[in-house]
Symmetry: C2
Subunit: 126 residues, 2 copies
């Protein structure tokens, strides 16, 4: 049941649109903190799609999706968690900072953390 | 003296790069709260450049700049204030929400608020 609701979040295109802005900011903040200089950077869809697969969220999505839609699901999940106050901008940046040389792993760890919190939140709601 | 330091912030290209991501997120969050549905949107350079002029910050920039660079100065200022914890994502979204139908005015108000806090911060530092 949680998985059903999580699946709905993952394919929400409006959440993905907000999540695109969210992901770019937390990634840029992580780079800024790591380098000690302000940085602005975008996260490629390939990185996000691979992180989604790595963390097992791909199985909650419909079959036969292109990479773009799979990457969007990461953005949707992060935006949902942020709007629901399950995670903050700071926390995401901190989580990403450890391991920015391997962004797929960094995002996979962040997604695993966030998916767990979202599931726990959904469980608590009944 | 404050103005000199403020001028340096306004033309910092690294700050502007981070600020681009910041501005898109706070604007998207403001739209999300106003409409009650998640939204992702980018802020046009024209809007930001016009807001910079409206609030008198244009005078702190070099002469003969194109609109793009003027718009960047708004992003740089907002990123600086955010990194220095003079303003939060939430606060920016709240400030923008009142008047999203007139985005130039909304950003001008936000820039005036932030410029004042940055100046006060710079004064406090001596």
């Amino acid at each position: 049941m949680e998985n059903e609701r999580l699946s709905k979040i993952l394919v929400d295109r409006d959440l993905a649109a907000l999540g695109d802005a969210f992901v770019n900011l937390v990634y840029s903040l992580a780079l800024t903190r790591q380098t000690g200089r302000p940085k602005g950077s975008k996260v490629g869809n390939k990185v996000l799609a691979e992180a989604v697969r790595r963390v097992g969220l791909r199985e909650l999505l419909p079959k036969r999706l292109d990479r773009h839609v799979i990457g969007d699901s990461a953005e949707a999940l992060l935006a949902y968690a942020w709007l629901e106050k399950l995670i903050s901008v700071d926390e995401c940046a901190e989580a990403l900072m450890r391991g920015l040389d391997q962004p797929v792993e960094a995002f996979a760890r962040l997604l695993a953390l966030v998916a767990e919190r979202v599931k726990t939140g959904l469980r608590a709601e009944g």
